[in-house]
């Protein structure tokens, strides 16, 4: 609560300081003041906004407060510098000499708050109990440094170099003490940076991501005091170089810290690091090429020539894309091996699949190896549902990075315990969308083939069963009768002369037998294919219902049909009606055969007890499917049965 309030108070104070700076600038505008204000405007509002956002998070109060203090310290330094410029233009700056002295070294607070931020990042606590004293020591050392700045007896910095020092020179022991504290500030800030490294080693995945964010921006921070020192040692004063590094860090660090706490997963930090280095190298390379080409042309054509500039630009532009690709690959391989190996694995698999050396189903295994994640799952969306299955048919939870094809999800990558970030997974998902689609299409085709194979097997089995039944019917029926008949005729023959047998009666019996055998054969042939179909489907169906013990309401289209369609339609109607008569206890059966959209619809409905057995379906559905049609059986218990077959009787046109 306190931390949160402090963040808000800092924000208000920082805003006030900036307003004051603007006022002083308005009173005495000059170049230095404009530059200083520009820095303030770049750093302060963004940092302040982030501090408020971060401090509102449950785990972000301390970091938020430190960000606020950082923003405030920068605002104060900006306001002070502009105030100094203004003061130099007034008549009597001596009146404010004490304040100039007190604030002379307040820029160290920016560094100190930086250090504190590093110490408490990202969870608001110091890395361990051993570090408890560091924040306090840093604050004390910075205070002493500022006091020393006030007491020092060297002249003020420009533009107030002429102003007399208001406080006397400090005693000798104090100078020693101040030197120790100054070195202490630098050492403690450095130690804070080191603490971040120690913390990184012990951190979990999320914290590591957060720390990497800060590292990305804070590369310049430990460099700033060191470079500053080197510049002072060599040239006697700080130059623009260390200032630029410090300023970049100053702007980037609070941003990075904010992102780290708010959305550490916003963007792949490894990738960002890689990109930063890539573009740095590419820029340097292009500048070198541009310089080399334009100066070479300059020598040949003359200095300041437009040809030189044009050629240099052209050379740089030509090199840009290949250079980015090459450098990116090299940088990735060194700094971001995970991304490199994952994308290479996908591309390689692509190539091998195209060459027929690998199956696209191996994607999961390849990614597991490349992303060092043995629990990684790759799910493929089941056509016509929202479920995902892996290549082995096991369900995969949809809680991961989706693979999209034309904005439609086709698969999902689910991270196990590997180091890959969501951003990297997104990139991998993009790269492997074609492979995922191929797997999906393959499984769809395989399923269709399996269905067709099953159906064919069933049809063959049904065919064999029918043959077996027919063989039995022939053996036990007609054949048996004919054999008996033959025996009777033999008997008659043997007794023709002796008169012991009534040949007349025997012949009567034989003819009767023959009639029965013929009838049986006719029935059997009818089971193979009703001969009445030769007169058209309506005639065959009329024949069918005439033999039934109840009336069937019929409405049958009598247009010409292909033989296969008519036969299948007949068997659908025959099975459904026979089933209704035998099992449904229906009192009313209706048969409709109509044409619609190039299909023949055969519908049989009854008002019976429903619950028709599915045995009806297996054979019929396959026969119907063999014609490219579909069979639907609705038979809820207690409310009748409806069987409907849709049989396409025209070949579907290719241009659909």
């Amino acid at each position: 609560m306190v931390a949160r309030r402090a963040a808000v108070v800092s924000a208000v104070c920082a805003a006030l300081a900036l307003v004051m700076a603007v006022c002083f600038l308005a009173a005495a505008p000059n170049r230095t003041s404009w530059l200083t204000l520009a820095i303030g405007v770049l750093v302060v509002p963004a940092t302040t906004g982030l501090s408020v956002l971060v401090s509102r998070r449950r785990d972000g109060a301390t970091v938020g407060m430190l960000l606020g203090l950082l923003s405030l310290s920068v605002a104060v330094v900006v306001a002070k510098e502009i105030w100094l410029q203004w003061l130099a233009t007034t008549d009597d700056p001596t009146r404010w000499a004490w304040l100039v002295a007190v604030t002379a070294e307040n820029a160290w607070w920016v560094l100190a708050t930086f250090g504190l931020l590093l110490l408490h990042f990202p969870d608001g606590r110091v890395p361990s109990r051993r570090w408890r004293w560091v924040p306090a020591a840093l604050v004390v050392a910075t205070t002493v440094t500022q006091v020393d700045g006030a007491l020092a007896d060297e002249p003020f910095r420009a533009p107030l170099a002429g102003l007399a020092r208001p406080f006397g020179p400090p005693p000798g022991w104090w100078q020693l003490c101040a030197l120790v504290c100054f070195v202490g500030v630098l050492a403690l800030v450095l130690a804070s940076a080191v603490s971040l490294l120690l913390r990184f080693r012990r951190a979990d995945r999320t914290q590591r991501q957060q720390i990497k964010w800060l590292a990305l921006a804070g590369i310049g921070l430990p460099l700033y005091p060191l470079l500053c020192g080197v510049e002072i040692l060599v040239w006697g004063e700080p130059l623009w170089f260390s200032g630029a590094i410090g300023l970049a860090s100053l702007i980037a660090t609070p941003l990075a810290a904010g992102i780290a706490v708010l959305r550490y997963d916003l963007y792949d930090v490894d990738k960002a690091l890689g990109l930063a280095v890539t573009w740095g190298v590419v820029t340097a390379l292009l500048l070198a090429v541009y310089g080399a080409v334009s100066s070479a042309t300059g020598v040949l054509v003359g200095r300041g020539s437009e040809i030189g500039i044009a050629l240099g630009t052209a050379a740089a532009a030509l090199l840009l894309l290949p250079a980015v690709r090459l450098v990116r690959r090299a940088v990735d391989a060194r700094m971001y091996p995970l991304r490199r190996s994952a994308l290479t694995a996908v591309d390689e698999l692509h190539r091998e699949v195209s060459a027929g050396d690998a199956r696209p189903e191996q994607l999961e295994e390849r990614l597991r190896g490349a992303l060092r994640d043995r629990e990684l799952r790759v799910g493929f969306r089941v056509p016509g549902s929202t479920a995902y299955l892996d290549a082995g048919g096991e369900p995969v939870p949809p809680s991961g990075v989706l693979v999209l094809q034309d904005d439609e999800p086709t698969g999902v990558l689910v991270r196990g315990s590997g180091p890959a970030s969501s951003e990297l997974l997104r990139e991998v998902a993009d790269r492997c969308s074609t492979l995922v689609e191929v797997v999906r299409l393959r499984s769809e085709v395989a399923r269709a083939l399996r269905d067709a194979q099953d159906s064919r097997t069933r049809l063959v089995q049904i065919g064999y069963e029918e043959r077996r039944r027919m063989e039995r019917d022939l053996h036990d029926g007609a054949q048996q009768r004919l054999v008996s008949l033959g025996m009777q005729l033999r008997l008659a023959q043997r007794h023709l002369d002796d008169g012991t047998v009534d040949v007349d009666e025997l012949l009567d019996q034989s003819v009767a037998e023959l009639g029965t055998a013929v009838a049986e054969l006719r029935q059997l042939a009818h089971g193979l294919r009703p001969g009445s179909l030769d007169d058209g489907l309506p005639a065959a169906l009329s024949n069918l219902v005439r033999t039934l013990p109840m009336t069937v309401a019929m409405d049958v289209d009598d247009g010409p049909l292909p033989d296969a369609v008519a036969t299948t339609a007949y068997f659908v109607a025959s099975e459904a009606i026979t089933n209704a008569v035998k099992h449904s206890e229906a009192t009313r059966i209706e048969l409709h055969v109509v044409r619609r959209d190039g299909q023949l619809l055969v519908r049989v409905t009854d008002n019976g007890c429903g619950g028709a057995n599915l045995g009806l379906r297996s054979g019929l559905a396959d026969r119907v499917a063999a014609l490219g049609g579909s069979l639907r059986v609705a038979s809820p218990v207690g409310s009748g049965t409806e069987v409907e077959a849709a049989l396409p009787f025209e070949r579907p046109s290719c241009a659909s």
Binding site: Q480, V483, G486, M487, R490, L491
Partner: protein, 216 residues
């Protein structure tokens, strides 16, 4: 002969019974299924049982199974199996055991031939349907010993396999008994079988040889 008939089709059963009685045999049992058949044979101890291969209760090969059971009970019982279709493997095994016939049902039309087959089986010989024999003598391999036989010898072998004795073969082929003997000696030699004086045993040896060849 005292005969028991096992046949589920009443029409065929009665017709057959009448034919048999007409030929002077005594039909002492008429069974419509395998169980009744076993009972009738056990009770009547007939000279011959004529059994339909396919019978209730299962309607598969109940008759053949009943035949094996009866044969196990009484090795002296003569059995003629009647079938609707040609089945080689098991029929040859059965017939090669002796005192068994295997005939298609419509052989009944050739009444004299049929009665002759019944007599042969009852006398300890065998009877195998010509259709089955034709299958047995079909070509098998290139180095087939059957390829060494002359056409005449093949004719003789087929009739032997049907279970006919030398006189029967001679009558069928309009040959003298001596010529038939010569042919048979040639066949036995070419098939690598030992000559034996007893006709029935010679037939069974040929059948066994043909059955083994069929399986190989």
């Amino acid at each position: 002969m005292r005969i028991v008939i096992g046949e589920d089709s009443a029409l065929f059963r009665e017709g057959l019974a009448r034919l048999l009685e007409d030929a002077g045999h005594e039909v002492v049992g008429r069974a419509g299924d395998a169980t009744a058949l076993v009972e009738a044979v056990t009770r009547e101890r007939p000279d011959l049982a004529i059994i339909d291969v396919r019978m209730p209760p299962d309607g598969t090969d109940d008759g053949a199974r009943a035949a094996k059971e009866l044969r196990a009970q009484d090795p002296e019982l003569a059995i003629v199996l009647l079938s609707q279709h040609v089945e080689t493997r098991h029929s040859v095994e059965l017939v090669a055991g002796g005192r068994v016939g295997y005939l298609l049902k419509d052989r009944v039309f050739e009444v004299d031939d049929f009665m002759d087959a019944l007599r042969r089986v009852a006398a300890g010989g065998s009877a195998l349907d010509p259709e089955v024999v034709a299958t047995l003598l079909g070509p098998r391999r290139d180095d087939d010993p059957l390829a060494l036989l002359t056409p005449r010898e093949r004719d003789v072998l087929a009739l032997m396999a049907e279970g006919r004795n030398n006189a029967g073969i001679a009558r069928r082929l309009f040959l003298t008994d001596r010529t038939v003997e010569t042919h048979i000696a040639g066949i036995m030699q070419k098939l690598g079988l030992h000559e034996t004086g007893e006709e029935n045993r010679r037939v069974l040896a040929v059948l066994t040889w043909l059955g083994v060849r069929q399986r190989g």
